[in-house]
């Protein structure tokens, strides 16, 4: 199967790092292809950036989604996920969604450890938006400067693991999620230092996407868009225009 990993951030190096981790967990026969947001910020940390990224994710899916069996919105916080699920005929999963659903199956109480307080706020919102906060016992952010997001995982490794252990000891977490696309791989690398299952979003999302594609293949044309009439639009790429519209108002880009 062909699995599209969409990075909602504009940082190509991050796309590659996540794709590498994705391929490590992909089943034989799964091809992981990637797309990076055409616009937005270096990484998504707050609601403003998430709203921009939600649009960018749709553009990327419209441009690169053809021929894929499933897709991943690869930023923890899942920008644009509900819209992406609606727009696409194939399963689309998010990092938060996938990690939290796995946590639900592995234990009664889970915690999220992440890099900054602002990320923590957004991640909590994301879990609440999924309706899955019932077992979330803590969000534990570091409070450090992040001069280089691509090196943050290595630079804060000890702090992150210490927070994971605190989540177990103080909050009673039975599962810990390392939240944040740039932390991909850390759950695996530090598993031996954390006394309960540790999860990260990328690996969970790969497995969830593969499972949904296998469990529920939908026919082409079953997109939920079929349920509403297309509408005139403006200022969207040609690919996205095809997804939402019947007519084109002045101003749609050639894209």
């Amino acid at each position: 199967m062909r699995l599209l990993l969409v990075n909602p951030n504009v940082t190509g190096a991050m796309t590659e790092a996540m794709a590498a981790e994705a391929r490590r967990f992909a089943s034989p026969g799964t091809e992981v292809v990637t797309a990076t947001a055409a616009f937005g910020t270096q990484y998504v940390e707050i609601r403003t950036e998430a709203a921009i990224a939600g649009h960018a994710v749709l553009e990327a899916l419209a441009a690169h989604g053809a021929g894929c069996d499933a897709a991943i919105v690869a930023a923890f916080g899942d920008p644009g996920l509900a819209a992406a699920k609606e727009m696409m005929a194939v399963p689309v999963v998010g990092l938060t969604e996938a990690a939290v659903l796995a946590a639900w199956a592995l234990g009664r109480r889970f915690a999220i450890v992440c890099l900054t307080p602002a990320l923590g706020v957004w991640y909590r919102d994301a879990v609440e938006a999924l309706g899955l906060a019932g077992r979330l016992v803590a969000v534990r952010p570091l409070d450090v400067a992040i001069p280089d997001i691509m090196r943050a995982k290595e630079q804060t490794r000890a702090l992150l693991v210490a927070e994971c252990r605190q989540a177990v000891e103080r909050d009673g977490a039975e599962v810990v999620i390392l939240g944040g696309g740039p932390l991909a791989g850390l759950a695996r690398e530090a598993a031996g230092e954390i006394p309960v299952p540790a999860l990260d979003g990328v690996s969970c999302a790969v497995r969830l996407a593969e499972s949904l594609a296998a469990l529920s293949p939908r026919a082409p044309g079953a997109e939920s868009f079929a349920r509403v009439a297309g509408k005139p639009s403006r200022g969207l790429s040609a690919a996205l225009t095809r997804r939402v519209g019947s007519d084109v108002l002045a101003g749609n880009t050639g894209g």
Copy 2:
């Protein structure tokens, strides 16, 4: 005070219709100015369109928000509202938010009447996302074709009022909200035909925005963005780039 009404839809005629209703409920001394989404669809009906509109709302606020004391995201469903509140230093309110908060104060149980089933799904999601679905007893959509969104209010008037009455009689609603920006004014016009208070989003939002601006003036510079460091960005307008970023990656538009 100066109040910015942002239409998340690309339809200028709709902006004008909503602004007219807004001015009718604005206090003396309130100036209502408007902005229309630069990109997106004719009107927002589904999550995909809402995700696009969320970005467009931020662009409009970045471009036109300077000097305003408050702003309204003027599509029922509130696309981009949480991000807009975060990005702006002045209060920003949404139509769903404002109508539901007013309904909360007017009765124990409220219902929403709207034009299409797809709108009904999105509106319910919006109320749930606000955490205010505890008193929502019904969403009652019509199921009619909408050849001209600007004439839908007149063309479906009798059907909408009939649904409002059903909401009272069958669902026990003590307040009815007529959901949808293009329905602005109908709650006022049909109040005599509905046996409980009827609300629409535009008028509620004007009053809520004025109240919040009066109750809680915040100093310039208090934007929540001050809490996180700016980030490099790409592909955003100059105005929005200033809101999110410290540096500009290749590809930001001149905007």
Copy 3:
């Protein structure tokens, strides 16, 4: 418009202090008139006092409500509010209700700071009774003696502001409510010392009452009492007897 502020406490000086703050936030053209509970306690702090005050509020509204466009139940904790809304044909709002609804629109998480632990228990109950506790992250009471309720605001000012700051720093509050009618004005006076919007009930209630009166004028005779047949009653004032009853049993007061 004419706005009736009902003080559920028997302390006339408190009525005047709250009315002064109310007039400061009222729109031009709004006349604030007042009534003070004819029976009850100096101020309401616990459920027992609140139950007594609930009856006193109804008596005051029955006696003084004629000709008003809206009313305020002016004790934080909202004694008798649900009954008052039911009994009156015009909007009635409470201090807790108004402040919490405004907080809901201004941020994701709010806290309440108040004078005593007993008040804190009652205020939390009031928010839960409204169904709006989903974003209440903390109730932070002082624990000081209150020899003179009318001077408590000045005497405990520094302590109250310190609690507000703790609510932001430790509880993540994005909005702080200073709970208690006698604290009216402090949110405004101390706004510069609190890093997030600070609200008090009186100003919020004035604005909410004005808005509801403007948004949803109901015809006289639409009182919910019209829905049930009047009943014989005993021991009530003449004014309240008219509101609930069809006949008078022996023992109604001449009131």
Copy 4:
């Protein structure tokens, strides 16, 4: 033990009817004494009447509660119950509370059948206020005129039983509560016609009050009022003044 049944309605015949049912379920050695509200309405049906009754219940408990081991607030809907629990040193229970707690133990889903729609609204509010609506699957009111509340039980018997059966068949209720003090005894009389356990508030309250008194005898002086300083009051009876106050302002009645 000595058990005080307080009727929040002013109708003495109703007090006697409920007391008779109470004595039928009381254990040997339990003496049931009664008090009837000194002011209020013939029966409590709506929130306005309930707020008045809440005060009347406190007056009755203050006047007649001395020497009792437990008390019952004997109107379904439990007017003033939270305050009564706070004010008294002995257990106080309500009809709704007692019936719902028993229902919780007897089945997974329960329904309430009652005389009028307005009662149904109030009863639902009461269950929600208790935080026990999680298993309430339906409130089924009749919609009949009630010319004589004391004869309503006999006059509507067949209709009430039919609603009970509907609650089982259509709503999946595993327990049915016949809500309303004037229906006391019907659950017992009609048990053979209802295929699941049927409960009424008076009998449940007798048993709950006896149990709490036996399980948790509290020392005199342990009233929660001990937690707050008394306050000056006005317009209350002498007995209630002693419960809330340290001083008496001008205007307290001689009571």
Copy 5:
């Protein structure tokens, strides 16, 4: 009436200790008879042991339940309770259930104090499973070794009482439950040292069982099993086979 106390643990001495406490609270005329689990563990502490005990409880009820008017599942945590209620035609109550329902009537917030962290996890689960965790403000386990479960109450008495006091002072508990069958009697013995009502499961369960039997006598043959056809079974005792089955597959024990 005849009340069957079933000990889900295999420890006969514990059965006797709980029966003694039960008889202390039973009404005159109530006979308490006992049964001890035929298989399982010394005491139930974790979910695995609870699942085994759930089956053992059903076996004990099938073997000894004939002729009883009500039954008690006498391990805090209520193993097998929902099934036992379904299987039996007479009321069956659990220790957690009974104590929590009594707590609900005695105060707004309750806490549970118990012997070990593992018990605390299980007890919290049990309260959540009942849907009654809304007022549970804390579970406070000791963390001590339990060399002899039958002497734990005496050996840890001071620690348990100290935790009860902490629950009141730090968590705002208005009621404290001493959780654990082997702690039966401590709530009564230590009542004077705890400033709020203290409850234990056995005494609460006796009173609840008596009340339900009095309030809702059901005819024999009304078991919910009548609702589904019997099924072939294997490996069950003869008594339990009669409860679930129509036929016997090879392997049912002679039991």
Copy 6:
């Protein structure tokens, strides 16, 4: 990897049918091995049977779990699942759990279609126990006699599919789950007749178990049992005794 499918029912033919469906969805390299409950009923339909089955599942896991990388509790309703997760060092998943988590990722609202009303009650309880009922919009049982559980899928196929379609059209379900181990395969076979994704528990559980085993391999010895001291036991098989106990009381079976 080696995946143990435990049938909580005593019907061996059902084990084989579910294993066949499981193997169809298992990844290359996954070996599916089986165990059938040693005691219990032909199939599990009600809480009583589920409580018995919970014990049987633990016995089967204790007897056959060694050397497995994950396990499935293969009855919809998940008898014994929480205990099984606790007892085993490897992931254990249930049919309801797996299907509901997949449904959560595929749509906003899901429904369950099943064979009998009693099953519907139990399935709803199971979803609520998981804390995942927030998106469950309907449980739609048939109400037919089931003379042969192994042929029920074929005999009621048209009725089941019709209910699935009703769930979409009337309840707004975006995902439908065909609940019940004996229905394994129907979701796949009838996918073309149902306009939204259709899921069954067995296939979902295979994928979830494989994913969890890959994502979170835990070291042997990490069983949660390590957290509590073993206890003496009685009447358990030798294998289960080793899981729970340190000593053996008289009466453990030789098993």
